[in-house]
Amino acid sequence: MVDLAVCDRCGLCLPLCPPAAIHLALSDLLVDRQTCTGCRKCVAPCPVGALAMVDA
């Protein structure tokens, strides 16, 4: 889950994501829930804590 109100769209989480499930586009940041493996590698490094896991 991305908290878009907090996310600054800095792009830091993209190269941390092994399956490339995170997409930064012109106006938003998306996590593809089909591709995300739930590995959490993106969670702690986000400088503003915008990424959190949700139980699907």
Binding site: G11, L12, L14, P15, A25, A44, P45, P47, V48
Partner: protein, 391 residues
């Protein structure tokens, strides 16, 4: 379907210099430079410090409108807050990157490249005709560009390389998570940059004060999240600011990632090069990447121009870029990375003790060289953390 010789993705220092260089080397080429942001150079995700010599290879800072401040001193702050002043002349500059990046992009346009802002690449595929088909969308709608060569200069995201099958992933321990405020109305030496190390301040990284003028500075820090106590970079920065500058006006805010790794294993593929942050070409000790990005962009632009002219844009031909980069700076980064890993074992007590020893040297003789000589005697694995700062 627009047909171009070279499509450069990302108009930061790497992409702008690459586009300009390719066009200068081979004026007959159609070169297009894409930038997702609506303005080149904004938002600024950078502390904006560069060394004098590296900058001068690309632009003359004397009296330039894209310079914010000249720097002549470095001040280290030990974890216990004791300060070590180091006198150096002409250390470097603090840029105004909104203007600097725009200046570089304008040079690419002056050389004949076409710049499209508010326009992003969103994926690409290799076709049997030996071209890249790049999906592009933006202010002018969506279209597919056909390109002989693509240069991925897309910064920390490094997605262009991944689309082309290169491994540009970053292990978490080699990612610095950064947060920074522009702060006004604070008291510090406006001719100096300040660097503070320490586990409580910025575990695995450091905090900085980079002056943009008298009383105005970029105040930020970078840390490795794996070493943090659970707080994120912004929370560490808020704590540091509250302690040092509780009354400063925080007039701007930014976050970003710095890849403190070595150059990716392979920076080329058929019809493709990656340059700058997108290829992990940052100095892994200092986190500086602006000048590196320009140097890589220059190499990439030259290599691509010659390859297209020769009618051979195969990976085998473009590999020359990789070798030239490794010789220029890539091998050095491998050494700095080893030092970075060794430094991870140095604790706060060491930095505090070092600050005391160095302060015993008379101020006028206190050069970076002497400081590191002292550090080396006590801790052989500690080689210039910041002497290399501005590379």
């Amino acid at each position: 379907m627009p047909d171009v010789d070279l499509l450069v993705v990302g108009a930061g220092p790497a992409g702008a210099v690459a586009a300009a260089q390719a066009k200068r080397a081979a004026p007959e080429l159609d070169v297009v430079l894409l930038e997702r942001d609506r303005a080149v150079g904004a938002p600024v995700r950078c502390a904006e410090g560069v060394g004098d010599a590296g900058l001068r290879e690309f632009a003359n800072p004397d009296g330039a409108p894209w310079v914010a401040r000249k720097i002549s001193r470095v001040i280290f702050i030990a974890p216990d807050d004791s300060e070590v002043r180091v006198a150096e002349r002409d250390v470097g500059w603090i840029l105004d990157r909104t203007r600097f990046d725009a200046h570089l992009a304008a040079e690419a346009v002056a050389a004949g490249a076409e710049l499209l802002v508010g326009t992003e690449a969103s994926g690409m595929t290799r076709t049997p005709d030996g071209r890249w088909h790049v999906a592009v969308r933006g202010l002018r709608g969506a279209s597919t560009y056909r390109a002989k060569v693509v240069i991925g200069a897309d910064g920390v995201e490094a997605m262009v390389g991944r689309w082309a099958g290169l491994d540009t992933r970053v292990p978490a321990r080699d990612m610095e998570s950064c947060a920074q405020y522009v702060v006004q109305g604070i008291d510090f030496d406006p001719d100096a940059i300040y660097l503070q190390f320490g586990d409580a301040v910025a575990p695995g990284g450091y905090a900085w004060i980079f002056p943009k003028g008298v009383g105005i500075a970029n105040v930020g820090l970078g840390l490795v999240a794996l070493k943090s106590d659970g707080r994120n970079a912004r929370q560490y920065l808020d704590a540091w600011m509250d302690r040092r500058y509780p009354n400063g006006a925080r007039t701007g805010y930014t976050v970003g990632g710095v890849i403190v790794h070595t150059t990716v294993q392979q920076t080329y593929a058929d019809g493709l090069l990656v340059a700058g942050d997108a290829a992990h070409m940052i100095n892994p000790l200092s986190g500086g990447g602006i000048v590196n990005a320009m140097k890589a962009g220059r190499l990439a632009g030259c290599t691509v121009a010659a390859a297209i002219r020769a009618g051979d844009t195969s990976a085998r031909r473009l590999a020359a870029y990789h070798h030239a980069w490794m010789e220029l700076l890539g091998q050095d980064h491998v050494k700095y990375y080893r030092i970075k890993r060794a430094l991870e074992s140095v604790d706060d007590a060491f930095f505090n003790a070092l600050a005391r020893t160095v302060n015993a040297i008379p101020a006028e003789r206190r050069t970076l060289g002497r400081i590191f000589a002292h550090a080396l005697v006590q801790h052989p694995q500690l080689i210039p953390v910041a002497a290399r700062f501005f590379i």
